[in-house]
């Protein structure tokens, strides 16, 4: 099934409702430390490639 939302759109939506960068960072960090597999699953769902996913996950580890 094709996923219609890319990362930029996703970030734009969070910004539109007032979630700033710091909050998003916090969110990634929590996700990565508490539920690494789910974090991976979400990033895959967004359509990111393996390298990009690894990079993001490493950043918040």
């Amino acid at each position: 099934m094709k996923n219609h939302v890319n990362v930029e759109e996703w970030v734009a939506m969070f910004e539109a409702i007032g979630l700033d960068e710091a909050r998003m960072h916090q969110w990634h960090k929590l996700f990565e430390t508490r539920h690494p597999d789910a974090h991976q699953g979400f990033l895959e769902w967004l359509g990111l490639g393996w390298e990009e996913i690894d990079r993001i996950r490493a950043k918040f580890r």
Partner: protein
């Protein structure tokens, strides 16, 4: 002094004879001598050394590394061990990933459905942990529905919601939760529009009902 033939020592340590011949060639484990007819024999010292080799092998050290360790006092350096530990951790992450993917594929094959990437309870919990409140989530649904209705639908399905639940969330996103009307409607609709998986006290296994008065 007790001695072992190559086959006996191999058997005692759960290895094959050819492994010991290979270790001999590498200089990792030399026999303590040869019999008159040229057969290798090993003593207790060699047996202990072989046990240590086995332990290092189990810990993931290569034969070359083991030879290095044994020829320099027998204690592996901290750096070597740390490196191996890090590699092991990487492998575990890789294996867990494999496990998750395989389990997902299996579920998918078994059910014919796409497995949820993150379950809805977990998703809500993580948003709450990052400081997003109920109103924030409602605003987010409205934005999502307005900007990318199909993406919204797909995302909700991917969280494991049923078609019916997805429809209800999308309807609320368009009506009760939409920006501008939210304030006026929220007081009236708050109870009606609260979805149970946003409530941390709701039972985890049943995100089915849209709680109503």
């Amino acid at each position: 002094m007790k001695t072992y033939s190559i086959s006996k020592l191999a058997r005692a340590c759960g290895l094959s004879r050819s492994t010991l011949l290979y270790y001999d060639r590498l200089g990792l484990l030399k026999p303590s001598g040869r019999t008159g007819s040229g057969y290798r024999y090993y003593g207790e010292g060699e047996r202990r050394r072989l046990r240590r080799i086995g332990r290092f092998r189990l810990a993931g050290l290569t034969l070359k590394e083991i030879r290095g360790v044994l020829s320099s006092g027998g204690k592996p350096g901290t750096r070597l061990l740390e490196e191996r530990l890090r590699e092991t951790a990487d492998k575990i992450v890789g294996l867990k990933n494999q496990q998750r993917l395989l389990a997902g594929m299996l579920r998918q094959v078994a059910s014919g459905k796409r497995p949820p990437m993150v379950d809805v309870k977990l998703w809500v919990k993580m948003l709450q942990a990052a400081g997003m409140d109920e109103d924030g989530m409602h605003r987010w649904h409205s934005e999502f529905e307005r900007r990318a209705p199909e993406g919204h639908q797909e995302f909700l399905l991917s969280l494991g919601l049923s078609r019916q639940q997805v429809e209800e969330v999308r309807r609320l996103s368009r009506e009760a939760w939409s920006i501008g009307r939210a304030e006026a409607a929220s007081r009236r609709n708050r109870a009606r529009s609260r979805v149970s998986w946003h409530d941390s006290k709701a039972p985890i296994s049943q995100p089915k009902q849209l709680a109503g008065p």
